[in-house]
Amino acid sequence: MAESPSHPKRGTPHIEARNLTMAFGSFVLMRDLNFVVRHGDIFIIMGGSGCGKSTLLRHMIGLLEPAAGEILYDGENFTKARPEQREMMLRRFGVLYQSGALWSSMTLAENVGLPLEEFTDLSREDIREVASLKLALVGLKGFEDFYPSQISGGMQKRAGLARAMALDPEVLFFDEPSAGLDPISSRLLDDLILELRDSLGATIVVVTHELASIFTIGNNSVFLDAQSRTMIAHGDPHELLAHCDNPVVHRFLTRGEDGEKVSRPHG
C-alpha cells in the first residue's frame, strides 16, 4: 500500500497491548495478548464466533477493564490513566457499534452534533454545518432531521459512522461493520473504511469474520482462538494466509475448503 507523506506518524506504533488478560469473574476468556498496531493500519480482530473479538474491542475502548496487562496509545497508558486523562484520550476515539447505537431520541444531525456540542466551542450553526458535512461523507445528505427509527439498518450504520467521525478521531473502531448488511452495502462500507484511512490518516480497528472484508481492507491482524484462550497469529492477513502454519488459522482463512472435511466443533 502506498505510503502517503502527509501523515508523518504513519507506520510508527500507535496501539499496543501488553500481556492483556480478559476475564469475567474467575472465567478467563483470553490471556497474554500482545500486539502492536501501527499508525495508519487497518487492524483486524478475527476469530471464530464467541471467542471474544468484541470483548477485546470493548477492552480497547475502556468499556471493560482488563483483569491483567495494559493497553497503550502512543506510549500513553490507557488502562492506568486517571479519569480526566482517560476522558481526553477517549475524545480521540470514534466507535461504530454493531447496531449503530444512534441515540434514538435525537435526529441524525443532533446525533452527529452532540460530541461537537460537548467538546468544541463551535456555534450552533457551525455544528449543524459540520454535522451535515459528516452525513454527506457517508452518503446521507438530506437526512439531517430524520430520527434513527425512520431510516434503514444500513443507513443507521452509516449515520453511526458519521457520528464516530464527528471529532476527527485518530482511531476508529468498528464492531462487525458488515453484520446485517447486504454484500454490496458491505463492500461500499469497506471502500469507505479504506478511504477514511487514506484521507484522515486514522488508524482503524475492525472486528469481523468476513473473509472478503479481511482481505480487502486489512493489513494487520490478530487471530483469537477460543480453544487455547489466547492469540495464535498476528500480522498481515495476506501473509498469514501464505505462511501461517497454524492449522486453525489456515482453516479459518480458507473457509476450511482445502484440506480434509471440516469437523464441527462445539458451541
Binding site: 475502556g62 477517549l90 476515539f93 466507535v95 434514538s104 431520541s105 460537548e118 464441527r264 462445539h266
Partner: protein, 430 residues
Amino acid sequence: MRPLRSGLESRLEKLCFNLRRMRVFRHPVEPFACRRYGMLTRNAFIAPMATSIHIAAPPGVTLTRSADTLTLHLSGEWSMRHKGAATARTLSSLDAPPKPRRIEFESSDLGEWDTSLLTFFERVLDHCRTRGIEVDRSGLPPGVQRLLELAEAVPEKKDARAAAARESFLTRIGNATIEALRSFDEFLDFFGRVTIAFWRLLRGKARFRTSDLMIEIQDCGANALGIVTLISYLVGIILAFMGAVQLQQFGAQIYVADLVSIGVTRDMGAMMTAIIMAGRTGAAFAAALGTMKVTQEIDALATMGISPLEFLVLPRVLALVLMMPLLCLYSDFVAILGGTTIGVGMLGINFTVFVHEAAYATTMTNVLGGLFKGTVYGALIAIAGCLRGFQCGDSSSAVGDAATQSVVMSVVLIVCACGLFAVIFNILGI
C-alpha cells in the same frame, strides 16, 4: 355399489356430505377421523369422498422375529400430529424374551414421514445401545439415515447438562439473601455516584442538555396530572368514607374533615403520589435506560467521553425531584376535595363548615413535612429506576425485568422511608 343401505348409514352419509360442504374435512384428515369415516365410505360413498379426502394410514410398527434377529416393519404416515403410541409399545416388546441380538428395519410400506420418525429411531437406537443390541440401519429410508448421521456427527457435550443441575432449597435461600444484600449495596453505590454528579452540577461542571431536562419535567410533571388526580380523589373519598362510618357513631362527623386533611397532607398524599410515580415514571426510566443499554447507546456515550450518569441520570432525577413536591401539593388538594365530596354529599355537612374545619386542621408543619417526604420519595424512585436501567442485561426480556425490578425496589424503598420518617418525626415531635 350396494343397492340397499340401512337408515342409519344413509343419515350418516348425509351428515358427512354436509360436513364436507361446510369444509369441516381438511387435508389430511386425522387417522381417528379416517378410521371412523373410512368405514362408512367403504360401503356407501367411497367415490365422491375419495376425491376430496386424503386418507392417511396411521403410523404402525409390526415386529417379526427370526432366530436372533428382530425386524421392524414400518408402515403408514409418520407425522408429528399423530400420537406416538407405537413407540412405547415397540420399546417394551424389544425387551420381551427372547432377547434379540440384532435389529433390522424394513420400510417399503412407509408413507410420508417427518421428525416424529426420527425421534422414534433415536429412542430405539438409544434403547439398543444400552442393551448391547446390534442395529442394522440399511433398511431405513436414505433421508433418515443421513439425518441420523448428521445428528450423531458431534458427540454430546458432557458438562453442558450438569450446569443446569438443580440447587438445594437452602442454597437458593442463601443465594437470594446474598443477592438482596448486594442489590442494596449497589443502590448505595449508585446513590453516592449520583450525589457526586449533583455536586458537579452545583459547581457548574456537569453536562446534560437542558432540552432533555424539560422533556423529562413535562413527562413526569404535567403528563402525570391525570392519573394523580384520579387516584388522589379516590383516596380522599376512601379515607373520608372509612372515617365517617366510625365517627358517625359518636355524632362526630365533622372530624372527617380533620381526618382527611391531616392524613392526606402528612402522609397519604406523598405516599400515593410516590407509588403512582414509581409505577409510571420509575418503570419508564428503567425501560428507557435499559433499552439504551441493549442498543449500546449508553456505551456510545461513555466512549465519547460523556458521562452517562450526568447525561442521562441527572436530568431524570432532577426532573422527578423538582416535580414531586408540586404533584404532592396538588394531590393533597384533590384528596381533600374528595373528602369534601363525602362530607357534603353523604354526611350532609355544610360545605363552608367542612372547608373551614379542614383548613383549621391543616398545619404548615404537616404540609411541608409531606412535601419533604414526597421529594425524598421522588429521588428514591428516580435513582432506583435509573439504577435498574443501567444494570439491564443484553436482551429484550431483560428490559422488562429491569422495569419490574425498578417498581419493586421503589415501592420497598418508599415504604421503608415512610416508616423511618414516622419514627424520626415522632422523635422530633413534629
